[in-house]
Amino acid sequence: MVREFTCIVCPNGCDITAEVENGELISVTGATCKRGEAYVKQELTDPRRTISSSVAVRNGELPLVSVRLDTAIPKNRIFDVMQEIGAVRLEAPVHIGDVVIEDILGLGSNVIVTKNVERK
């Protein structure tokens, strides 16, 4: 079976054609770098994504601070993770790299702050 992928690793967005049999990757064409093949393998077995969101901050110069995952999580857990992130409230100041939730839902990824918000 032939499957088409658009690689999301970098902005080149290579169109990759993969030949797959019984879930096994037979061949990959179209990737302009090594990461493309790794991406297709990952997509076939365990597709993962990182996500970004924001959380409310009390007493900050902004009402919100942006956060992201530091490593990808299984795609089918995105909305579970969003729910956890949505429940968080922080107190200013917060700084880039602060860990908001460690090992979220046991998925091996941390939610980290991506913006500095000082106290009002």
Partner: protein, 411 residues
Amino acid sequence: MEKREVVIIGGGPAGLAAAVELYKKGIQDVLIVEREKAMGGILRQCIHDGFGLTRFKTTLSGPEYAQRFIDEVQTYRIPYRIDTTVLYVSSDKVVTIASAKGLEKIQAKAVILTMGCRERTRGALGIPGERPAGVFTAGVAQAYMNLYNRMVGKEVVILGSGDIGMIMARRLTLEGAHVQAVFEIQPIPSGLPRNIEQCLNDYGIPLYLSHTITAIHGKERVTGVTISEVDAQMKPIPGTEKEYACDTVILSVGLIPENELSIDAGVPLDTRTRGAVVDEFFQTEKEGFFAAGNVLHVHDLVDFVSLEAEKLADGVAEYVRGGRLPECPIELKTDRNVNHTVPQKISGQRDVNVTMRVNRKFENAVIVLRQGGEVIAKKSMKKALPAEMIQIGLKKEAIRGNQEIEVSVEW
């Protein structure tokens, strides 16, 4: 009157990178003028990741990417003014600024134009129908959600397949809204393929090409839109109308370089890029005025904005020290498949990186630069899309005389 060697208009990614690079080159009598409360420009609201893959070899969110430059500005104590708007720049480089301190004038030796873009609006498209609340450009919706903690709507239709629109489709979905579809009037998407994959396909959001909104309905708030298919001339086809009920319409229909200040200063613009005509030093046709980033031409990635502004700093440093830059008599001309190039003219004395965009999709194409019929540079591409900026290195040894250079696509 206050005097500065360099005044930088706009503290977004281009202005920040230019300031830091100038400092490193020993040009330190610089002032960055930023109208917002904080530096960082549009990156402040771009909380998604994917920034920095080229410039820093890692993936960062917009605010993190901006902070790397802001930290440098602060470490080097490069002067900047926030909450300060440039009202006017005269052709002899007197910059008039307004802030809580009142009106001030600054005489600059060189002016760097890094004002970025504005979004094309509903008014510019002339979409018929009512004028209810609930119609937002993608960047405005992004600011509401990511800076002000305000959700913009629940049932959403997106017009235009620009990258910000697709990124907002994902953002809205993650925050609990239902994004029904993205409609694109052109036969090809205007954003990057990876965003179609990770922002639309991942969430089952359909993208309809050759479709547009032909009416917006609702009195107080949007209640729905009429969608029509369009023909090859992008004219709606009668009989193809479909109604979609929604409370929100997001527009992601293009960016326009914000060049009002440039025009007032007498800087000539290129009608194709809507940015200034520049040479390889990023000097405009008005001596001592330089431009880089989205105010010069719309970029696909911020990494290239930073790299371009750093390159600009080389030219500005040379200009400030020497009072002039080499002549750039060699013009770059484009064939009908190439939308534009930046720079539009070069000296021929130095290696140069030519940036361009194609007008339509090509497969297995070769971008060719010719001078007097002879090939002086080329680049093979598996696919060339209008959504991406193409960059070609041109070596000075290859350049012959001052004849114009023809840039074309062959396939």
